[in-house]
């Protein structure tokens, strides 16, 4: 039996798609850049400065946490709101969330001046610090994601005893995960409340935490929709038509609340006029809201979009583009330069980031290759009713 498993694993290893090896090369290169940064210090390896102490890495972290919000959003819909028809997406989404958060932790490690003290937040508390709270929430939530993913591993190794226990505490764990997510998603916005003097008034808001939280819900839904399309291409698996349609029907709610908050805040604070008088910043803000919120909001209100795989993909991509713009805007593009100092990342910053992203994709591919991640998803070959684009089924040996 053990031998059988070994032989099968070996066969599976040989059957890995070719992009996995390319990802491995990028990961190795990126990690080398990261090691060099650890040895050489931040000054000579990054373009960070006194004026821009945070750069590309933090913008990436903010974006990734928002997109990884897919995991808690879906857990909320499936387990709390009893939308069991969405259950098929749980495993791949939880895995994506787990790896997304892991990549954030890795990047943060490289970003610290004293990376050897990364654990200090555990023993030196400052309860008024948003970053302290974010650190704790992300640490605990990542553990919960490991728990939420554990059935996949237990199923692979037929450990029924543990599985029964894991299933028993699902609901409390899911609710704890949602609570922690609501805390750190919003607290990431709170980071930019204290940086008041630096942020353009169009973006600055005391309710930044609420903006971050509501937008992470929309980002989460969008990530699941896009993810199902990516997994068609890479793994030959996708979500059923009904799942995508259901997800699409939820989108207008989240986007609508977010848009109302954003515009409402501008009106209440009397900053609405800035939308037209701030030159390039007005354009940037309008672009962000139009691309990321208004266009997809209108799209997902139409049944035609929700039932079409292609159109819902386009709508979800708009939402993700909007999230990327928003997180990069607030942490980088709309920060007031001081004494004319601006920021553009160095090649090492970019290389490490590419390496880490490749790393997550690599681990995702390997895990979903060896573990039953896509069990409930629809195999593309066998589902004619999915209007998937002309696909070449990826060469993965059919399950044993």
């Amino acid at each position: 039996m053990a031998l059988n498993v070994k032989v099968n694993s070996y066969k599976k290893l040989k059957g890995l798609p070719r992009f996995v090896y390319i990802l491995a090369i990028f990961t190795a290169l990126g990690m080398s850049a990261g090691l060099y940064r650890l040895v050489a210090g931040l000054g000579s390896t990054t373009n960070l400065s006194t004026v821009f102490p945070w750069g590309l890495w933090i913008s990436f972290d903010l974006t990734t946490v928002a997109l990884s919000g897919a995991a808690f959003t879906l857990a909320m819909l499936v387990y709390v709101f009893h939308m069991h028809e969405l259950h098929a997406a749980v495993r791949p989404t939880v895995l994506f969330g787990l790896l997304g958060y892991s990549s954030v932790l890795v990047i943060l490690f490289f970003d610290l001046g004293r990376w050897d003290r990364f654990w200090h937040f555990l023993v030196y508390p400052n309860l008024t610090s948003a970053l302290f709270e974010v650190s704790w929430c992300i640490a605990i939530y990542t553990t919960i994601l490991v728990y939420e993913f554990s059935p996949v591993i237990l199923e692979r190794f037929n450990n029924n005893k543990l599985m029964a226990f894991v299933e028993k505490i699902t609901i409390p764990m899911v609710i704890a995960g949602i609570t922690l997510s609501s805390m750190h998603q919003s607290s990431l916005g709170a980071l930019f409340v204290i940086a008041m003097p630096r942020i353009h008034p169009l973006w600055y808001s005391i309710i930044q935490p609420e903006f971050f939280f509501t937008s992470s819900l929309a980002a989460g839904i969008a990530t699941i929709i896009v993810g199902s399309h990516v997994s068609i291409r890479l793994f030959g698996k996708t979500l059923g038509q009904k799942t995508i349609e259901k997800l699409g029907s939820l989108m207008p709610w989240f986007l609508g609340i977010y848009l109302a908050l954003k515009l409402g805040e501008l009106i209440v604070t009397g900053e609405f006029g800035l939308l037209f008088t701030s030159g390039i910043f007005s354009l940037l803000y309008l672009a962000e809201l139009t691309v990321g919120v208004m266009v997809p909001l209108v799209m997902f209100l139409m049944k035609k979009v929700r039932i079409s795989n292609k159109l819902s993909l386009v709508g979800a991509l708009f939402v993700i583009a909007g999230i990327v713009m928003n997180r990069f805007d607030i942490s980088w593009f709309v920060l007031k330069p001081i004494n004319g100092v601006t920021y553009f990342p160095s090649w090492i910053e970019i290389a490490l980031l590419v390496g880490v992203i490749s790393g997550i994709l690599l681990v995702f591919s390997l895990i979903s290759h060896f573990l039953p991640v896509f069990t409930e998803t629809v195999s593309v070959q066998s589902s004619a009713e999915i209007d998937a684009p002309n696909l070449q089924p990826v060469q993965i040996p059919a399950g044993d």
């Binding site: 006194t50 009893h82 204290i194 935490p209």
Partner: protein, 257 residues
């Protein structure tokens, strides 16, 4: 005892940079990373009435410090003398204080492999051992930097402006900015021209931070935890009721019996 304070007079500064040397020696740091530096107006005015002003600049030691509110690991603290101290044993180098500080004070050791924040701690160790002034104030040859009790320094600032209204603009920088500080500046030219970060705001960003972290977050967390539990239980109850209706009568009897 009261809080310590500084009065820094830009009209007296001659840009000799002795304060930087003193800071470097006292804190045993290279001249490139002193905790005090010079803010420079550049050459202003029209020929032949050209002017050039400078002022030494260091941590303002705020009444309600944003950096203390922001620091992830509580490495920055305010002591009872109003000094913002820095614990280099706790700091993880996350640089959040650099964003939080409205006066652009904390600096980072970009050239170090294991890098920390650098910031004026008011030579707190000197103050302890026999009532010496901070190194910069003790060294300044023109008394542009004066050190004493905060209230005295503030009174002195107003006194100088009142005595020589032509010499100074009528503005004590640090009295109200961002909730007030322990370092006061007076200047012959508006502070904006001198290169200071200017603001109309009289409350500290720390106040807004506390609204979100001490009120906002617990409210969000509490309402999510309760709301989610409530919704789950309600929907679970409904689906169970739904299920029992569909169950066949014989089975229901068995359950009851």
């Amino acid at each position: 005892m009261g809080k310590y304070g500084f009065l820094i007079d830009a009209s007296r500064c001659i840009d000799c940079r002795a304060c930087l040397v003193a800071c470097s020696v006292e804190n045993n740091v290279p001249m490139t990373s002193t905790r005090i530096w010079i803010i420079d107006s550049g050459i202003i005015g029209e020929f032949p009435n050209l002017k050039h002003y400078t002022a030494p600049y260091h941590c303002m030691h705020c009444n309600d410090p944003s950096c203390v509110s922001a620091c992830t690991v509580g490495a920055l603290q305010q002591n009872e003398e109003g000094i913002i101290t820095y614990d280099n044993e706790a700091c993880i180098g996350c640089r959040y204080c650099m964003y939080a500080c409205p006066f652009e004070v904390p600096h980072f050791q970009w050239d170090q492999q294991f890098a920390l924040i650098t910031k004026c701690d008011l030579c707190v160790s000197r103050l302890g051992e026999g009532q010496q002034e901070p190194a910069c104030a003790a060294t300044c040859p023109t008394d542009a930097i004066q050190f004493g009790i905060r209230e005295d320094m503030l009174a002195l600032a107003h006194e100088r402006i009142n005595n020589e209204p032509d010499r100074y603009v009528n503005h004590v920088y640090g009295e109200y900015e961002n909730g007030g500080t322990s370092t006061f500046y007076i200047s012959p030219i508006p502070f904006e021209q001198l290169g200071f970060p200017t603001t109309e705001r009289t409350e500290s960003p720390a106040e807004f931070n506390r609204v979100t972290t001490e009120k906002g977050t617990p409210i969000i967390a509490g309402s999510m935890a309760l709301g989610m539990t409530g919704i789950y239980l309600a929907l679970e109850h409904r689906s169970k009721k739904h299920a029992t209706v569909q169950v066949e009568p014989t089975e229901t009897k068995n359950d009851n019996g």
